[in-house]
Symmetry: C2
Subunit: 296 residues, 2 copies
């Protein structure tokens, strides 16, 4: 068997980015950490960590990191069945990929209801979070893709509803005679990052025309809302974040009753499945409550 | 002189990540975009774009991208002095590095008050945003460093005040007999990412002890606040974001009157200086209003 204290040193380095911080986190000296990694590397016969600011895993290091997390999750299940025992792993860390808008709208209540883990969240676009799972870098993910990843299970969560919104002053300035393709071609919009296609998908859905408006780039869910309110541009915002502002007139929809719904899915690694069951249940229940559900 | 329409094609590719999206944005065919890049590369004698998902600049491509942005800024100044004229560049894009907590607290009003630019925001930790400026990848930055970057000017903005906060339920569960180093060593905290040292700096300031609590990882300013409210962990949150929640009792400070102040600085590239003046003025005025100022 591998020495799991040594694996814990590897995990701590990859989470904190440095040997010094890992040493502090584990209550060891940096040279003890260094020695553990050296022993592991000799044992496995491969370099595991590329030293740098921050330290990065090699592909072998990434694979061992994943293994350490899976074993800690299994051990946590043991603790639940047998009761905590001497020498048991502490609260296991769980790396998840979540899209920024889910984190900003409905995911926090789900994670807050399960305190069995230390959460290690990776943010990425809903169309790219499945990649993290496919590469084995996370144990579960909220994604926009229904396509099952090898070794993973998948459940439909519901739809996150987006509304094309702008401030009343922005509407008056840029759309005095209505929201037309011609005006949309010159009114500034906002884009989260190069992975964000929501604005262009909504334009295609609403106008069936190929419109490329000038755009700001703003990689933050709440930053998007704040900048929309401040009149920087129009943008696709989750209804959960802007519903109140629309009701009170601080924001307006570009076109009434023209939402864009993005279906979301929860994928989780089968090998971590039993340990993840309690979180999967919480995620499904919270999504049922907060996301748009299909009529049954 | 270079052909600036060709440079515009390069900028559009690097902003959108693909030849196809750049073509749509500029109203050209992808093959026209491709031809422009090829001509530019022959002219400069270097590859400019590494094709991929997304397309990335080479170092020569990065340098030209910066030049194109600087020229567009200069041209915008010309437009202000002479009035808009035929063939003038459209609203110039301006790439800035801002730390996430500044964007979440005080930066949006500053940028919203200046509509002369399409903002292209890069988010990074306040201790790392100066690196973006040093590498020439942004024209200005909000950073935690007073150290002037070559070719740049720098002004002090004030201090962003952080409070160590937790939910009342979290306080009862983890600190029933007060906030002590012993309890802080086991109560879960939250860390933004591996660049975030706020929690450990506050612990060192408050206890002069080396405490390494178990930590969640959560790379989102508002996610941090939401997770603090939901009792996931304690964390350093900007007073601007949590002041109301503390006043109404939905959040508590771990130790009363024990803030951590982070000084912030505005750095801007001198070559873009005149064009940036209006934004610099707005940033300084907004910071004066919303950040903690030193007694004069």
């Amino acid at each position: 068997m591998l020495d799991y204290d040594h694996l814990a040193a590897l995990s701590a380095i990859l989470r904190t980015g440095s040997f010094e911080k890992a040493a502090r986190q584990l209550g060891l000296t940096p040279s003890a950490i260094s020695q553990r990694i050296k022993t592991l590397e000799e044992r496995v016969g491969a370099v595991l960590v590329v030293r740098g600011q921050p330290c990065q895993p090699t592909s072998a290091g990434q694979r061992l990191f994943r293994h350490a997390e899976e074993v800690a999750l299994l051990e946590a299940g043991l603790g639940r069945d047998l009761g905590a025992f001497e020498g048991m792993a502490k609260t296991p860390s769980l790396r998840l990929a979540v899209n920024a808008d889910s984190l900003a709208t409905w995911f926090v209540p789900a994670m807050a209801s399960v305190d069995a883990f230390l959460y290690d969240l990776v943010l990425d676009d809903q169309d790219h979070s499945a990649g993290w799972l496919r590469r084995g870098e996370v144990r579960a993910a909220v994604t926009g893709s229904p396509q099952a990843v090898q070794g993973c299970d998948c459940r439909y969560l519901g739809r996150l509803r987006y509304l094309a919104t702008a401030s009343p002053a922005f509407m008056t300035r840029w759309f005095p005679d209505g929201v037309t393709p011609e005006r949309l071609a010159v009114a500034p919009t906002m884009t989260f990052n190069i992975k964000d296609t929501l604005q262009s998908r909504w334009l295609a859905q609403a106008f069936a025309a190929d419109i490329s408006p000038p755009t700001h780039w703003l990689p933050s869910s709440h930053g998007f809302v704040d900048a929309t309110m401040a009149g920087v541009g129009w943008g696709m915002n989750p209804e959960i974040l802007v519903g109140n502002a629309i009701a009170s007139g601080r924001l307006a929809t570009l076109i009434p009753d023209c939402p864009l719904d993005v279906p979301l899915y929860w994928h989780w690694s089968r090998s971590a499945g039993p340990a993840l069951k309690v979180l999967t249940d919480a995620v499904l229940a919270t999504a049922r409550r907060l996301l748009e559900q299909d009529p049954s």
